[in-house]
Symmetry: C2
Amino acid sequence: MALYTYSQLLDFAEQIFLKMGCPEEDASIASKALLSADLRGIDSHGVARLSGYVRLWEAGRINANPAIKVTYETPSTAVVDGDAGLGLVVAPFAMKIAMEKAKLAGTGWVVVNNSNHFGIAGYHAMMALNQDMIGMAMTNASALVAPTFSLERMLGTNPIAVAIPAGVQPAFVADFATTTAANGKLEILQRKNADTPLGWVQDQYGNDSTDANILKKAGALLPLGSDREHGSHKGYALGSIVDIFSGVLSGASFGPWAPPFPAYVPMPENQPGKGLGHFFGAMRVDAFRPAQDFKNQMDLWIERFRNAIPAPGHEKVLIPGDPEREMEAIRTTKGWELVEAVETDLQAVAQKFGIVF
Amino acid sequence: MALYTYSQLLDFAEQIFLKMGCPEEDASIASKALLSADLRGIDSHGVARLSGYVRLWEAGRINANPAIKVTYETPSTAVVDGDAGLGLVVAPFAMKIAMEKAKLAGTGWVVVNNSNHFGIAGYHAMMALNQDMIGMAMTNASALVAPTFSLERMLGTNPIAVAIPAGVQPAFVADFATTTAANGKLEILQRKNADTPLGWVQDQYGNDSTDANILKKAGALLPLGSDREHGSHKGYALGSIVDIFSGVLSGASFGPWAPPFPAYVPMPENQPGKGLGHFFGAMRVDAFRPAQDFKNQMDLWIERFRNAIPAPGHEKVLIPGDPEREMEAIRTTKGWELVEAVETDLQAVAQKFGIVF
């Protein structure tokens, strides 16, 4: 494992996007969105996915030079057709529209169809923060999750991100898959040849499993809550809401028809809509109360929760976004290591385009 | 246990609200909202709570004749001061404003401060359905839930409800506490003298517990996910989002300061805001795509999910809202039984006001 800096990997990703045919501005936007995942410690969604985007482009499923456009709007809503572009580019476009709507109408809500994977949801939600807005981002994704009482993979890991500005305290940033464990957590265990805890996955017959490779054997991830007794019907409902807001409301594909990320997996037949779907929201804080009042109260909220009595063995209670922000501070200055499999992968991508990694 | 009909219990609740001094219209609105919980099988939130509302009114914490008003608004948002009224009355008032906003601006988002418990969130969210709108409702509540890594009760069971219209299929209605198990589930086990499964509660030292009475011994409910390994930080984030949207954004109280439902529990000191808070949303479906297209696709979504391959031992996969709708159909025609403790409670309330139960 070698150490890389943020600017090295940002430059590299930008070069690759340029080689794919992205316009300069898009390549810059996409590489920033992609690298934000590595910076925040969500390694599964960062440069580790770059070769996956390239393969989707090679398969003709990603349009490197899309004409992204608003196809319908009301004072507080808009529909965006991503023209099969990189989700990493389509999502910031849509989030900006949500924020423009919020400036005029108090809130803005934008659905996106005909898109692709957009990296981490948190990056897009956080765009709202420096405008004193609450930002929200959701997306559907390839079906890997079985609903409660089912053997069939019907939903993606369908993340929800909510970013809420504070005053002197850092922002509250929640960004999580609506499953007990995200797919990236399985990948980490696969590399270590380790088992999963019980409650993360089931096998193809619906039995409990601890096999980190079970998705390759027709198993499924479990909704947040793991089983009915522990509330998996709530995780299933949450994942469904994300699918419906992102997919059905937008005119994208949804449920088991959501386009798969691995380019070698064939597209499900009888697509009910176009591409992947996203849902974005922006709420201007001062559409409810003076922004400074709100931010002062958020400081109080954060300080009170951070100082809640910790359980034995824990120093303090965390606020959503704390671990990622701490990781970002470290990685921004010190860089980070890539696992060998990712290095090899990036070298192959570099070679394909005749550039140096 | 005796059998009661819907109209018997509706009439009774209405009489009690009138005796408390509610205007006729408010008594009618409140009793319908309250009874919707019983109809849908959520017995913990229905007439079983009537005496609790009476005690809050006796303690001067509920204003039976409130001047509920909009204190601020933008094209898509509004802030409602509930004037310490019954949440059962304040919530439908606020939800109607959200729907009026949605008619003009595409979506409407209303926060409420200075309110009280509003019954089941699903009832308010479902108000949007016959207008071809997606409805949302959230509320904060008395602190019973410990954040991940904490011993302290900082959050309520903070429910989220989302109601989504369909075409020929019944609507999708999710309505769930952001904890592994709601408090009402503990009450059922207490009556049976039974233990909880592991993962629902912890004791005052943060140890695993199966004691259904642990909340009376300084224990806490656990966020959806139960423990860190199974995603409790996600349930903690969800409960926090509900608290911030309902409490901080509205100017209500929040976190450990949320007013307790039992009237004998003293109000936490140094209240940062006024009363309980709620958050409501209404999104006009045709602010995104033609309503009929959306409803046809929702039918497809629902049919596909209901026909997902069931796990062994299960006949079919459920859609959020299925069990409650089935219960409502049965109870509307056949009535239902009340447990003895609730009957005794209602008899005492009747006697207090000199009416017959």
